[in-house]
């Protein structure tokens, strides 16, 4: 079952990053070893974001939502169930300083 993992950065207080946990390399190693990550990437900053609405009639600069938190990257997971997806997401280093949103794919 496929899940999209949205890596949400921002919103953290300084110092919160000091908790122990996986580095991104360790996370990538483990997800590869277990075969649960199909693809993923980091995105350029919100300064390079463009939002298109109403079939392109309304094009604005910036992300779709203007908040302190922004989508910094994504991963596509293939997991047995929600518990496995949560476990993988919780090990991602950004989970310690930001948030990870896990969403199941429409088509399963």
């Amino acid at each position: 079952m496929k899940f999209l993992m949205l890596v949400v950065a921002g919103g953290a207080e300084p110092g919160e990053a000091d908790q122990p946990g996986y580095t991104i390399e360790e996370w990538l190693d483990e997800t590869e070893r277990r075969g649960v990550r199909l693809e993923g990437d980091r995105l350029l900053g919100v300064g390079d974001a463009t939002t298109v609405r109403e079939s392109g009639r309304l094009v604005t600069d910036g992300p779709f939502a203007d908040t302190k938190e922004w989508i910094a990257g994504y991963d596509v997971l293939d997991c047995a169930d929600m518990d496995e997806a949560i476990e993988i997401a919780s090990k991602h280093p950004v989970a310690r300083v930001g948030a990870i949103e896990v969403r199941p794919f429409w088509s399963g």
Binding site: M1, A80, D81, M82, D83, I86, V102, P104
Partner: protein, 414 residues
Amino acid sequence: MTGRDAVGEAFRAEWGRIVATLIRLTGDWDLAEECAQDAFAQALVRWPADGVPERPGAWLTTTARNRALDRMRRRAAEAARLRSIAPTVSEEAPAPAGWEEDPVPDDRLRLMFTCCHPALPMEARVALTLRTLAGLTTTEIARAFLVPEPAMAQRLVRAKRKIRNARIPYRVPPAHLLPERTSSVLGVLYLMFNEGYSASAGADLIRRSLCAEAIRLARVLVDLMPDEPEARGLLALMLLHDARRPARLDPGGDLVLLENQDRARWDHAEIEEGVRLVAASPGRGPYRIQAAIAACHDTAPTAADTDWPTIAALYGELARLVPSPVVELNRAVALSMAFGPAAGLAVVDELAAEPSLASYHLLPSVRGDLLFKLGRYAEARQEFERAAALTRNAREQGLLLARAAACVPSGRGA
């Protein structure tokens, strides 16, 4: 016992077990509920006429299971017809694996864990638990939580959809997840209990029955997780609170403070059971400690006999385990009862800077009481007035203002 009574009794005892088993077999929550309902409807017709079966639970499970099998076969046949694929699925197709086992394992634990999964919103966890495990109808749950029925129905539909779409697993979590998930289950049951406990005397009966449902489910949990001391702690805590319910409200429906309650009206059987459970739950966890505190209150013959030094020590333990300013405030009250108002005030003063308590009316209310007892009337008056301004409960506000007005050195009053 009449056939009808027997069905009622079986409903309370067997509903959750049957639904849990059918969800495991069919993977379809709605189908499971419908077939369980059908089985009880059949029992209502058959038992009064044919007599109550020897093993009512087995009869109901088999009936519900056959009904589910029937409906799944029919569904498959219809699907096949729609696709015009011949031949249609045989009526005698063998049951899928797991359907014929006897005795049926108890699936209620996995149902509890799935209903209380942290990926579901809290209100949905409570509602789903009441629907699938306790067998309350959507109408009853809506009434119990003072929510319009369509909204509650929506909540249940959404939760079931998320379980299906996000593939929330139907199982008892593996060992490494168990502590966190267990605490979610316990939290849901405790919330359910507190909803019922906070209901006023005039409230809908179904609202008050939430306490009984929570206690019943906690008993099931204790049975199914005999090695989980916090489950026993929670059951004890609920029983020890529930025991005081008959004396908690005056005839006008207003709260009676613990110290003024008629202890003869407490439920002593519940107290005995709660105390026994506390004694039988070694080690310390938040529920066990709270249960031990409740046991101290419940076993004091009069309010003056309360063992405040022990209660203060227990709150200290609780604060170390789950640091919270509200726990600290309770500890301050216990300390003042055990060792005098000055001991309590020292702790309360430390809490004054706590931002999360800035609008919590009990903080100035407790501080005012301690200052009053110390004869610092002007300061006490200010605190009571501040507390009165912070509470939204008109009756409480009246009481606080009366206390503020009484803050006059004796002999100099009007």
